[in-house]
Symmetry: C2
Subunit: 244 residues, 2 copies
DNA sequence: ACCTGAACACCGTTCAAGT
DNA sequence: ACCTGAACACCGTTCAAGT
């Protein structure tokens, strides 16, 4: 009987902000975007709305926290977050790795595509964007880009990456191979039926569209931007790792 | 008797899909995103929800139509939608013009930033995306990019453009100069206070961030991608406009 | 300090009924 | 064919009350 008061917090499990964010990610992953409601949350966590709002300010804040959590893990999974540059081609590889890390995260968590875009527009310099800028900016610096161009160059890369991941097609279905093939086939056919006067270009690329691989095309895009960077800023031997 | 049925449509003004879309754009422009509700619409149009739903399928469809309408005008305002290529540098200029046209449209209609991003993710090959691809794809073709690379090259440009316009800062206030300066100042200061171990790069560019001009940086970004394209596909004299 | 749960003010959407 | 307007099923968020 004396135990009662002290132990009152043992409950089934303490409700923390972290646990709420975790559950939010779970809901988004399993039931999908739009299934993340305060009521769904209270159901899974066996509490009331008041409990949720004690830990988080509002729904937008929760969405941001969920996005940031997933992005953080995606970027941490990268080969080496803060590794020293050892060989000449390393910065490019690091940029490719970060980019693909984000791309794959979007594939794993389809809701992330929308959320990354929403964060970028509604919260341009929030934690999510900042984290991504930092991850891309470091290798950009290591690339030998002059200091005055760090910001613009990094922005270009980040904007491309986020634009591209935003479109990564979530072809309605369960994401199977056949689903995707069917989707591309229907789209490609629709493109060929467009008005030749209004959409000559789209009609012309309908074939390429059916054959294309999103991830491969994304790599190509990253490399295209990298080519632009190294063309504008040829790696002169002006940086430390230049002896020998 | 014969006239009656004909004239029945005079009412105070006929409710059409177009008029609904126009009103939606007005609401978005004046009161802002999130003020576009079916009830606000019925108020302005002096009808009931049923009337709205007779003309449009649902809210998402209306948002898409509103976005498409604004994008269409923005792209039509371009110097010459389907002009012949007369001089060598023209395709690049056309790409810059389309890009800036979209950028300026986002500045004029802040809600467009979110909607472009949302359309790209939720409706990757809907009318909005298609229109933008067509506008960028034509000059890409004129640039002399080999046929097999049309799709990937155009995608890269479009993804950069949409990623960049997505972030175009809508600094909460009314968009005045002082508002913006204040916003950049606060952000810049916040960046300098970040943990040096976690965010060395962000801290290093805090200064550039305060000074930067969104539109100018956007131009730089477009040119960077263009440099990548022309480096990978040097304009050989393989296309018609090559004499002299 | 942390949680409960009823209540509030709002949504988008439907649908029988009218003209 | 086109429109009315009440009604439905849902939201996010608040807040007095409990422990």
């Amino acid at each position: 009987m004396a135990v009662r008061t002290r132990q009152s917090q043992r409950r089934r499990q303490v409700l923390t902000r972290e646990r709420i964010v975790e559950t939010a990610v779970e809901l988004l992953d399993t039931v999908g975007e739009g299934a993340l409601t305060v009521r769904a949350l209270t159901g899974r966590l066996a509490t009331g709305p008041g409990a949720i709002y004690w830990h988080i300010g509002n729904m937008d804040e929760l969405l941001e926290a969920a996005t940031d959590a997933v992005v953080a893990t995606a970027l941490a999974t990268q080969p080496a977050g803060r590794a020293e540059v050892t060989e000449a081609g390393a910065p490019q590889d690091e940029i490719r790795a970060v980019a693909l890390g984000l791309f794959d995260a979007v594939t794993e968590h389809p809701w992330l595509a929308t959320q990354l875009a929403v964060q970028l527009t509604r919260n341009p310099w929030g934690p999510v964007t900042l984290r991504i800028f930092e991850s891309i900016g470091r290798p950009v610096r290591a690339l030998g880009v002059p200091r005055g161009d760090w910001f613009a160059t990094t922005s270009t890369l980040v904007h491309y990456i986020l634009g591209a991941t935003a479109q990564t097609s979530q072809s309605s279905g369960d994401g199977s191979e056949t689903d995707r093939a069917e989707f591309l086939d229907t789209a490609s056919r629709a493109w060929q039926d467009l008005d030749p006067d209004d959409y000559p270009f789209i009609r012309a690329i309908a074939g390429q569209m059916r054959e294309h691989d999103d991830r491969e095309q994304f790599r190509t895009g990253v490399d295209l931007v990298l080519t632009g960077i190294t063309t504008l800023h040829p790696p002169t031997a002006s940086r430390p790792p230049a002896p020998e």
